[in-house]
Symmetry: C2
Subunit: 310 residues, 2 copies
């Protein structure tokens, strides 16, 4: 594919993944209780729907779906895994927005969950989404092979927990009130945990679902790590130079809060150069999977992540 | 076993389960990151340890361990499942104690996690414990059969989430501010979700680990449901008549807050009678497993739960 066709095909698949994820999340968050559930309380369910439906580019679901497709896996297996990951991403936004954390009133141009409902409901909606993610992955509907389901649960929990996303958020909050700013190394580690771990899981999940070889799985992980780092550095660049309207949230607030950002540590030019080299690294890792042109869409995803305006 | 010997053996095994759970949780929450974890941030880990170590009767771990033992399953499989369940129980206490929820300063006679640390750390410690529970269960160290691990994850998520514990907490909070008090039926459903679902999972887990027959699994579930209901009604009775020192938390506060309790709905005498009939129901369900005297300890557990003073 030439560059223009590839970019177009990428947008088409990103939109398709977003639509499929939206429909699947809507169905998963239906009012009827599943076997073993006693009831689905209406207001809590509404808050979980508010927190997860109708928003975002669905980049993580796209990455699950396209990584799985590399190995010929399409349909429910990838889509349900994508939904589980998106639930975890969305719960993290709900909890991060709470008054005790980042204290944000606005998310994707809408009131945050604790503003639209109340703080207790937002905490519980987050807890509910996090818990449901593991339900969805462990359900036999996701994959006939329990070994695959258990491996997905383990990888997802490890990416999302103490040693991944939750730990990264703790480090990020601690940095705000620390006497000395984070070093470059500590900032990179914090970002790899807070943002990188879930993005890495997205592509690892494709390999787990598709039965990737050890060397393919390693290459995918390297792609996921480079993509995650590029994503975060692009985020820092956007926060430094972006405008609030395009972002759907207030720009410049990371710097105001004294949050550790790579732009603050490196300056804008060096941050941009680093971002571009991460995209090259991601693309090189894809070549090492030996899957040829099938990986073009994921390479385009790395370019998109680095160049995005919101 | 005669009644006195059975009560003594019960206390011995309850203490043994508590000791084993404490050691296993301590090891699971060690500073060294697991494969796939990037780092374990010290303060967050400390908050997770504070929230889960050194406290409680460890009733849920005991129930997992003793239910599994009915089928000859002992050792790591039951102990790790017990730890996962206890992590979920402990996270729920941390989040329930938050200012936006029950706003409690004291838990088991110690400052609650958000008092000992801070609110953001308490939210994240809860999220971390919840996530880690699924990591522990899905890990091949828990059971060689991925089918068992995936079944445990699914049952645990369903008991803990929207249609179980989290949903029950949402209903309980909603009842506090509702214009009309909950009916008896609605109160029973709320309690079955908030408290019952995890207790039921504890004994269901034993059946999953042990490969119980369908009829045995059904009988265990009936035992777990009756035990859970007896536990909650005993809790309501304790809150109505108990003293704060024995409880390790303030007595009478449920009634003050207008929380739905069975004592409020039925009166003390009828609540006590209902509690006793639930114990009988639990004991009858155990007989239906066909496992004979092996179930004596679990029958004693039902009596203990109903008669406890804290």
């Amino acid at each position: 594919m030439d560059a223009a066709a590839c970019a177009e095909e990428f947008r088409r698949r990103l939109d398709a993944a977003a639509d499929a994820t939206e429909s699947a999340l809507d169905a998963l968050l239906a009012p009827a209780p599943l076997p073993g559930e006693i009831a689905r309380p209406a207001r809590l369910l509404e808050a979980m729907r508010y927190s997860s439906l109708g928003g975002g580019k669905r980049l993580r679901p796209f990455l699950v779906i396209e990584s799985a497709r590399l190995f010929g896996v399409v349909g429910e297996a990838a889509l349900r895994t994508a939904c589980a990951l998106e639930m975890i991403h969305c719960y993290s936004l709900v909890h991060d927005d709470l008054p005790a954390m980042d204290d944000d009133d606005l998310r994707r141009g809408r009131p945050t969950t604790h503003k639209a409902f109340d703080e207790a409901t937002a905490i519980l909606a987050g807890d509910g989404l996090l818990t449901y993610a593991f339900d969805v992955v462990a359900d036999p509907k996701t994959h006939h092979d329990a070994g695959v389901r258990a491996a997905l649960v383990l990888a997802l929990a490890r990416a999302a927990g103490l040693g991944g996303m939750v730990g990264g958020q703790a480090l990020d909050l601690a940095a705000e009130t620390a006497a000395t700013p984070l070093t470059l190394e500590a900032t990179l580690q914090m970002q790899a945990m807070k943002t990188g771990a879930l993005l890495r899981f997205a592509v690892d999940a494709g390999g787990i679902l598709g039965g990737a070889s050890v060397s393919q799985a390693r290459a995918l992980t390297r792609y996921g790590e480079a993509l995650g780092a590029a994503f975060q550095i692009a985020d820092d660049i956007l926060d430094a130079e972006g405008d609030s309207a395009a972002l759907g949230k207030r720009a410049g607030k990371d710097a105001e809060r004294g949050k550790a950002t790579l732009v603050g540590l490196l300056g804008l030019d060096a941050a941009r150069a680093r971002r571009d080299s991460l995209v090259a690294e991601a693309t090189a890792a894809l070549r090492e999977t030996g899957l040829g042109e099938a990986t073009d869409i994921l390479a385009e995803a790395a370019r998109f992540v680095a160049a995005r305006r919101n």
